[in-house]
Structure formats: structure tokens, C-alpha cells
């Protein structure tokens, strides 16, 4: 337990060392999560555009976007 205390104290410099690692973690994690979220949004937006474009190309199949009928 004492070893944990010593570790956290960082020789008296805890107030500088831990916020440094904290800031790096927050910025890097923030970048990662924001980038993944943006990719998901763009993928969904593109999918919506492509499927509606497909619908517009085949007006006869407007009501059954999922089912297929033999030609």
C-alpha cells in the first residue's frame, strides 16, 4: 500500500506529472473518439444518399426497397 502512495506522490511532483499524463490521455482519446464518430456519421450519410439515389433510379420499386421479385 505504501508503494502505491509513493508511486502516486511522484517525489512530491504529483501535481505536475499526473496532469501531464492526464492531458495527453484526454486529448488523444478525444481525437480517437471524435474521428471514429465522424467516420460513422459520414458512412451513414453516404449510405442514406446511395439508397435514396437507388430508389430514384428505379421508381417502379419504390414501395418494396427490401424485397425482390423475379424479373
Amino acid at each position: 500500500m505504501e508503494a502505491v502512495g509513493t508511486f502516486l506522490a511522484m517525489g512530491g511532483y504529483a501535481a505536475f506529472v499526473w496532469p501531464s499524463y492526464g492531458v495527453a490521455a484526454v486529448i488523444l482519446l478525444g481525437l480517437l473518439l471524435a474521428s471514429r464518430r465522424r467516420l460513422r456519421q459520414e458512412a451513414r450519410a453516404l449510405e442514406a444518399l446511395e439508397s435514396s439515389a437507388a430508389l430514384r433510379r428505379r421508381p417502379a420499386r419504390r414501395e418494396a426497397s427490401g424485397t425482390r421479385r423475379p424479373a
Partner: protein, 254 residues
Amino acid sequence: MSGLPRAALAATSSAMHRFANPTVALRLADRLMPWSAFLCAGLFMVGLYYALIASPIDYQQRDTVRIMYVHVPAAWMALGVYAMMATASAVGLVWRHPLADLSAKAAAPIGAGFTLICLVTGALWGQPTWGTWWVWDARLTSVLILFFLYLGYMALWQAYDDPGRAARAAAILALVGVVNLPVIKFSVDWWNTLHQPASVFTLQGPKIDPSMLKPLMLMAGAYLAFFVTVLIYRLKAEILARRASVLRRARAES
């Protein structure tokens, strides 16, 4: 032109032509991603263990030296990412490679993030060692300028409706800002600064004990793998966004 340089030029040229096709680029990115993500996680785990636990204190800076392991790799990435952005911008301007501008655009926020980490951890390291959070010496000032260059670059992309003009304006800013890179690197040699000279990349070799060089290089590797991973996410998003805007414009015109 003799044999070897001509062959290298031909290989680079054909690679660039192949990856000019976004679909090919996306497929490569999808294959690369799991590796870079896995490397990133692994290097962070080992790097943090060595940085925080399995490395000694410094003879004068004591435990504050551990801040070096998050500060210095961030500085290296801040410079390296900008160099990559400037190169991609030049390629975009000269060869009109379609993915060049997009990869620079994707890289910019990551580089800005690394620069911010460098500035903040630098302040947290400066206060207990130098006795101040900030000084306007040549090193710190030029890195702050780098941060503003990143922000300006990102802002230029938003400033234009036409993506072609935005790309060109941003590319020009990226290239103009390149002069800042040697200023940053050599600031500690050319002028009297509070920031000390280089410890790793010196003509006499590293001036860091191996027990400290190890966590430093591990964290540098982790940061690099992080950059590749997040760049892939962002570049994919840019490619998809461009496809969507092309579709929207086609629909509007039809």
C-alpha cells in the same frame, strides 16, 4: 538517368497512380488499421509501464523527468505531422493527386492535438524545474506559432465552399509555414533560450541514459502508431464525405 534512380522513380510513380484511386486506398487502409491499432495499444501499455514504473528518476529533475515521456514524443509528432502535411500539400499542388489534399486535411487535427499536448505538458514541466509556466523564448514561441499554423490550416478548409479552392489555400499556408520547422528545431542552437538544446538527435549522439531512452522511444512509437490509426479513420471519413458531396451535386444538377 541511370538505372536505380529511374526504377525508384517509376515504382513511386506507379504506387501514386494506384493509390490515386480512393477505393484502392480504402482497401489498403482497412488492411493496415488492425495492425496499427494493435501496435498502438501494445506500445502504450509497455511504454507507460516503463515511463511511470520501470525507469529511474533524473539526478537533478527527479520524478518530473517522467513528463518527458509524454512531452517529447508529442513534440516530435507535432513537427513530423506538419512535415507530412506540407509534403502532401506540395504533391497536391504539383501532381494534383486526389488523395494528397485529403490526407493533409485528415492529418491536421491530429498534429494540432500533439502540439497542444507538447505545449501544456511543457508548461507543467517548466514550472517545477525552471520556475515558470511560460517564457517567450525562441523555442516555445515557435512551437506556439506551429499550433496557430495548424489551426489556420484547419480554418482555411472551412472558409471556402468550393473544396478545390479550399484545398489550394490550405496547401499554400501549409507550405509557407514550413520555414517554421527548422526555426523550431534549431532555435535552441541559434539563439539564447531557456529551453535546453537537443538531448536525442545531436551530433554526439543521445545525451540520455539508456534507461530513460527506452520509455522515450516506446512512447514515441505509441504516438506514431496512434497517428497512423487515427489518420486512417479521418482519411476514410474524408473520402466518404467527398463521395457524398459528389452525389449530392449530381442529384442537384439532374
